[in-house]
């Protein structure tokens, strides 16, 4: 698996660095230059989402150069390639997140301080967003390559439109009620289990989601024709 990670890093190094700089730059603009800063958790979630898209670069570049066949003709199982992609994706997203949080919080005139971003709330938000985004995104890009990113984005847009339609038909108050009930359910679960156990439970759920995503990705990549 390490050979696959090393290969992806060597072949995508420059573009990954460039994208990290661009994504971090956008977050710096939000954190420093916007007159009104978003709430810390919202900023953390946004940062998590951006960092989750970093690993997509390796697969989309492979598509651009029709190089998936190169990786799959090497002496390595496709399952191992998928596992390496997951490890690299999570690792890159986490490194990008920590680096961005550090940079943003250390910059003069930033709306956020180190203690704000490296607090449990923003970190849990960012990690949750990363885990969910990667879990949903990776099966698409491993199966469909560059088109997978587009399919994912279009699918989420369509889903958003559908939700908005449902909300507008059912009425705003009812929507607020449903969201309120979900939040209340989480709060009650947290009260019942205690903060530590709740965090552990959430981590286990996210880990299970990533594992499920890996199993689906391995299955679809195994059957991908090159």
């Amino acid at each position: 698996m390490l050979e696959v990670i090393k290969k992806d890093l060597i072949l995508n190094r420059n573009v990954m660095l460039l994208n990290t700089v661009v994504f971090t730059g956008i977050l710096v603009v939000v954190a420093v230059w916007l007159s009104e800063s978003p709430p810390t958790r919202l900023f953390a979630g946004f940062a998590g989402l951006m960092m989750a898209f970093l690993p997509a670069i390796t697969v989309t570049r492979e598509d651009r150069f029709n190089a998936t066949a190169l990786g799959c003709s090497l002496p390595v199982r496709r399952k191992t390639i998928v596992r390496a992609r997951f490890v690299l994706s999570v690792g890159t997203a986490l490194l990008g997140l920590v680096g961005t949080f550090l940079l943003v919080s250390l910059l003069p005139h930033s709306h956020y301080r180190v203690g704000d971003l490296f607090d449990r709330g923003p970190l849990v938000t960012a990690l949750t967003v990363i885990a969910i985004a990667l879990s949903l995104l990776l099966p698409f890009i491993l199966r469909f390559g560059m088109n997978g990113v587009l399919i994912f984005l279009v699918a989420t847009q369509v889903l958003g439109v559908l939700l908005l339609t449902v909300v507008s038909v059912a009425g705003f108050a009812q929507h607020r009620e449903i969201v309120g009930q979900i939040v209340a359910g989480f709060v009650r679960l947290r009260e019942l289990t205690g903060p530590a156990a709740f965090s552990g439970l959430m981590a286990a759920v996210l880990l299970a989601l990533l594992t499920l995503s890996y199993l689906v990705s391995a299955r679809v990549f195994e059957n991908r024709e090159l």
């Binding site: 050979e3 090393k6 290969k7 060597i10 072949l11 420059n14 573009v15 570049r61 150069f65 029709n66 190089a67 998936t68 066949a69 190169l70 799959c72 003709s73 090497l74 002496p75 390595v76 199982r77 059957n223 024709e225 090159l226």
Partner: protein
């Protein structure tokens, strides 16, 4: 006599010094049985052939015949709908890593990252092969005059193929799988390459599967030839079998009618009569007598005349 019409004479088959005749005793490098693959507009039909270790097999056929599909199936890049592939006696999927470590693969269009240098591409690929030989790679880079610091996108198609060959030859592969490797190469390098491949076969454990539509390449190095057309194996035979039994019978059409239809595999009309491809040249000579000329069949004759049969069938 030029190479395309020279026929399968011993002089044309200078590629290997491995003695033919004892190949049946060798373990198999490739064994393909009843391989099937269906696409909406193409069907690979129950393809079977085998290649003993230490020999070269040429996969030959017109564009779109199914050569690349067979190679992709062997490399596990696409899934078969049926059949079995064994490499070195092992199932190619169950033992994927083990068998691929022993294969050097050259693609018809080498799929490298255009914006990465040759050196970095090598750095990314070499760790996958425990038997990687850096000294040999550097020698090949020098021999092929590859600009190792330049990006892949600056290379011509021929240079990319040379780079792919350098990678494939640098890890002591027991089997080289080459998909149209000579396409896009200049004649001088093509000749050098074929000579180099012959050299590899001095090690009797090495084997080569070589797909091409340039039949003269195969005449230089192949020990076995498998003809593919429309997804079907039309013929898979050793050089000896082709030399001993196949031939082109030339004469007027009335005389050629005496050839047994079961051994007749295609024909071509021309101003002076016709040429008929036969799988039993001796029987055809006996049947037609002195009114015809029987020549050994070159690979080009076989490809062209088999295509002639296809046209006859369609007509």
């Amino acid at each position: 006599m030029n190479e395309t019409t020279a026929g399968l004479t011993d002089a044309a088959w200078t590629g290997t010094e491995v003695p033919m005749g004892d190949f049946e005793a060798n373990p198999l490098a490739i064994s393909v049985a009843n391989l099937r693959k269906r696409y909406p507009d193409f069907l690979l039909k129950d393809v079977s052939f085998s290649l003993p270790q230490g020999y070269v097999m040429g996969l030959v056929g017109p564009n779109g015949a199914g050569k690349t599909t067979i190679i992709k199936l062997i490399m596990n890049l696409i899934r078969p709908d049926g059949g079995r592939i064994e490499l070195f006696g092992l199932d190619h999927r169950a033992h994927e890593e083990e068998v691929k470590r022993r294969i050097g693969f050259v693609y018809d269009v080498p799929p490298f990252y255009g914006d990465v240098s040759l050196r970095d591409t090598k750095r990314a690929i070499a760790p996958f092969y425990p038997a990687w030989n850096e000294t040999l790679f550097n020698e090949l880079v020098g021999q092929f005059e590859l600009p190792i610091k330049k990006k892949v996108k600056t290379l011509s198609k021929g240079m990319r193929t040379k780079f792919a060959l350098a990678l494939a030859l640098s890890h002591d592969a027991d089997l080289l799988v080459l998909d149209e490797p000579t396409t896009g190469l200049d004649p001088v390098f093509r000749r050098e390459l074929l000579h180099g491949l012959s050299g590899i076969l001095q090690d009797q454990a090495k084997s080569i599967l070589f797909s091409t539509h340039i039949t003269t390449d195969l005449e230089r190095i192949a020990d076995f030839v498998t003809f593919i057309r429309d997804g079907e194996v039309i013929l898979s035979a050793s050089r000896e079998e082709l030399l001993d039994t196949w031939g082109v019978v030339r004469g007027d059409e009335a005389a050629l009618a005496a050839i047994d239809p079961a051994t007749r595999h295609g024909s071509r009309r021309h101003a002076h009569g016709a040429d008929v491809l036969t799988s039993d040249a001796a029987a055809a000579r006996a049947a037609c007598g002195d009114s015809v000329v029987v020549d050994p069949a070159s690979l080009e004759d076989i490809v062209v005349l088999l295509e002639g049969r296809k046209k006859e069938e369609h007509a």
